[in-house]
Symmetry: C2
Subunit: 526 residues, 2 copies
């Protein structure tokens, strides 16, 4: 049996805090730096590598982190999770998102159902449906093929699927795997839905309504918005809409939809990209084979996350280093910096996945913790970020750990040679340069041009951003977040912090307010 | 004369730190909260208001902040700036972006030119050019009207213009002011340019090359990329491209462009949205009248920023409260949360404007400072953010000050009534609810459902996101950043921190590397 203890009660954590701090600048300079850059690397799936040479660790710190992983029983806790324990204790739920893409342990049976079979079954149903849409067997009222698919969902039903769609859109167009254009409606701001609807051909659009509970107010509101538009265009809304929901939701058996595909309570919204939530829109946009390849990449990476050896387990190692940075070195934010325009919204997805999971102040037992938990996550693609907020990262008064991602090859392959190098080479040269600039800095007589260095970073290097690579990336960060939740002893799978705002917003709409809330309601003309 | 002193040498700052801290929860509860919500508000331009009732301030703190503003000579320093002093001492430059939209003080003559006349002249030249494009007098090689305008620029030549375009796109479409679709190419990642080019009709596209120096590597590379595509399409590139640059740049008099419009060294990239950098693309997309209205809103807001009374100067007050939060309360990040999908990229623009300006560790004289300067800025539109990272904002272990923005009316006006309220009402109800939820929290027997409250926020409330309102918003934040730079005694107008990465990237491309840099270059196949 595993035991759940607060981070600051673990002996290995106390030992870790006593170790000599590593100067990134010192160890990354000269030939020692070259040695580290070669050796401090853990293999990921799809030929990718997690390189942590520019982190503030050495063999002593790594050994201590390995002890911490052991004492915190990270591998055992992950095994409990994938074998079907009730890890989400707050909501008394299993946590099964890894099971949507593979099976690491025993059969997991819940509600009388083998859950792996259930998820694979849904994936198959979606594949069949998508194939019929692609070949025109399922078509609009006039028998014409659909050209556009629009996801209606918010939070986890939006950010992950959107980030992955954008990540693979150009790859799919280049490789002949592009089937339908995808759009996304998420915000309750009526201008979001109106603008999307104004920009598409609704008569040839298929809408995917995504809400696990079937009660998310934003999503149901936007569904009505879309149905209104369909009706006004003289179209039968039920011929233009499918639902992704849980089997027990009011949407599950409604005749309002062409079809319904299911997830369940064991898939948290922010971890739902590999379930039907991502599966429907991605299979429709790119074909079910591409979605299957994405799942395979994630499954491969999950296998690595089950390894007890932290040096062979990139997600666990990344998690441990992050906790070391947060709780011993005292760094409060992490920047995610993909050198890939295709990953433009991946930082926004990780912002949710990470901050909603580990932005907690109480442990699994509801007791306040005495240490910092989840950091602020933000980021934009490089090289754009270099011309934006990198000034602060290099010379600001706070140290922000950095998580770079880079690929040797572009997706589209069109390139131009200027001043002796291609754009892709320039892109890669910049990320290589940044790692060393942040680590080693540069002295200068003019303090304004001086770089202290000692800014830690890691980089994930891949060959190309393919469906498999995207799956592996997603798995890496999901598992990193999970391991950090284990270390902080928080429940990473609930989100009680979002409830109060909902309750108060309902009061405002019911005009049941007083005090400041009434004044703000009046100021906003509600 | 003004004198430039470090924040921690000011008596009023020391006094401020001794004051009793305000519990946001306490003061925002009950009738006192209602009173504050009504009274703690400063009028902005265009009928907007900056409401700071939910900040950790009371009259004593505000009085102390007023003393700090006096002692730091904020109003006097701003006057120096707009009257043409060399405020950017590092680069020995004037700082004149406010002059692109109005004139607050004396005539500013530099390089023998009245600069207000120069900026107005460029605005006029752009207006004439845009009108000719719109009526087809300037057309493509076949004499056909342009339908699309594509900005090629990075950092300040991208983020601000892009954010403003997105902010006004739907408004313009609704009000009959929409002229050309705009797209943006920024990243040196070749997939960025390739994807944009694949998505447009290049034969009917006009490209705006934006680089002050005319030497920005990303931008010149993307220019070549675009010219290649134009040539391959059998088009004359010089008939499809204009330049926005400084008069001394190599682009200024080139026959490669249909026209060139000018900014100068006194306009920093991140403050260039009101110059030709934003002017060309926004005038082409929406017409010069709309751009002029945007400038008027900014000019109106600038006038308020010149007021010595902090209670009547929203930008100065916002800046002072931010410094109080950063340097006395110890909060390290600020989230910008617009409840408006149209402002989806405004936080990314402010991230640059703020972090690149004030992410500094040395003062104006190059001496290291002993206090924190610019915070991390991040944000996404509400209500999307509520379903993403708000969990951490409500229940995480760090307190993050929040900057809300909300509008009473949508831009497009299409809406739907569900459960007794419109989407716009739901949107506004949510932001009202969040202010109070963050401030007051909620007790609960179950710690997991407990909200400590005491999370400070402000809100800017406007009637609708019009061009004038967008200008006022931009001015507010630009001036806030400027005042914070004055308080921290840093040079907010240079960015030496971006240089080292550029130098090292050049070395990588020239294969002049050793140590870790060589290893990373090899790992990335450069």
């Amino acid at each position: 049996m595993v035991s759940w203890n607060n981070l600051d009660t673990l002996n290995s954590f106390k030992e870790l805090s006593k170790l000599k701090k590593v100067s990134v600048k010192e160890v990354m300079t000269g030939e020692n730096g070259a040695k580290r850059a070669k050796e401090y690397s853990a293999a990921m799936a799809c030929g990718m590598d997690f390189n942590y040479a520019a982190k503030a660790v050495d063999d002593d710190v790594l050994d201590a982190l390995a002890s911490l992983a052991d004492e915190a029983q990270l591998a055992e806790k992950f095994a409990e999770l994938y074998n079907g324990a009730v890890i989400n204790t707050g909501e008394k739920r299993l946590v099964l998102h890894q099971l949507t893409r593979g099976q690491l342990g025993n059969d997991v049976v819940a509600d009388g159902v083998n859950k792996r079979e259930f998820y694979v079954g849904q994936q198959k149903k979606i594949a069949e449906f998508a194939a019929k849409v692609h070949d025109g067997e399922i078509a609009n009222g006039k028998g014409e093929k659909f050209t556009t698919v629009v996801q209606i969902g918010i939070g986890g039903s939006d950010l992950g699927p959107r980030a992955i769609y954008l990540a693979l859109e150009n790859w799919a167009k280049k490789t002949g795997n592009f089937k339908l254009e995808a759009r996304f409606i998420s915000n309750v701001d009526p201008d979001d839905a109106a603008a999307v609807l104004n920009g598409i051909d609704v008569a040839h659009s298929l809408f995917v309504l995504v809400s696990k509970s079937g009660t998310t107010l934003e999503t149901l509101t936007n569904e009505s918005f879309v149905k209104d538009a369909l009706r006004k265009a003289g179209l039968d809304a039920s011929k233009h809409m499918i639902a992704v929901t849980s089997e027990t939701s009011p949407l599950a058996k409604s005749s309002d939809y062409l079809a319904a595909f299911f997830m369940d309570d064991y898939i948290g919204g922010r971890f739902s990209s590999c379930s039907a939530v991502g599966g429907a829109i991605l299979s429709l946009a790119f074909g079910a084979d591409v979605f299957a390849r994405f799942l395979e990449g994630a499954a491969e990476e999950d296998k690595l996350a089950a390894d007890k050896d932290i040096r062979k387990n990139p997600a666990m190692l990344d998690a441990l280093i992050g906790v070391y940075e947060r709780n011993i070195l005292g760094y409060d934010c992490t920047a995610v910096l993909p050198y890939s325009q295709a990953l433009s919204r991946f930082p926004a997805h990780l912002q949710q996945a990470d901050m909603e999971s580990n932005g907690k102040s109480v442990n699994r037992f509801g007791e306040p913790v005495d240490y910092k938990t989840g950091p602020v996550i933000f980021g934009e693609p490089g090289t754009n970020g270099q011309h934006s907020f990198y000034q602060l990262l290099h010379q600001g008064t706070d140290i922000i750990p950095l998580q770079f991602i880079g690929f040797k090859n572009s997706q589209i392959g069109t390139d131009v040679d200027i001043q002796g190098s291609t754009s892709q080479q320039k892109l890669c040269a910049n990320v290589a340069a940044q790692i060393v600039a942040f680590a080693c800095g540069k002295d200068d007589e003019n303090n304004n041009r001086k770089f202290e260095g000692n800014r830690p970073s890691s980089i994930i290097i891949g060959k190309q951003l393919t469906p498999e690579a995207m799956g592996a990336l997603l798995s890496h960060f999901e598992n990193k977040i999970m391991f950090q939740g284990f270390l902080w002893n928080v429940n990473s799978f609930d989100q009680e912090g979002v409830q109060l705002g909902k309750v108060l917003a309902k009061k405002v709409l019911a005009h049941e307010t007083d005090g400041a809330l009434k004044v703000y309601s009046d100021l906003l003309d509600i």
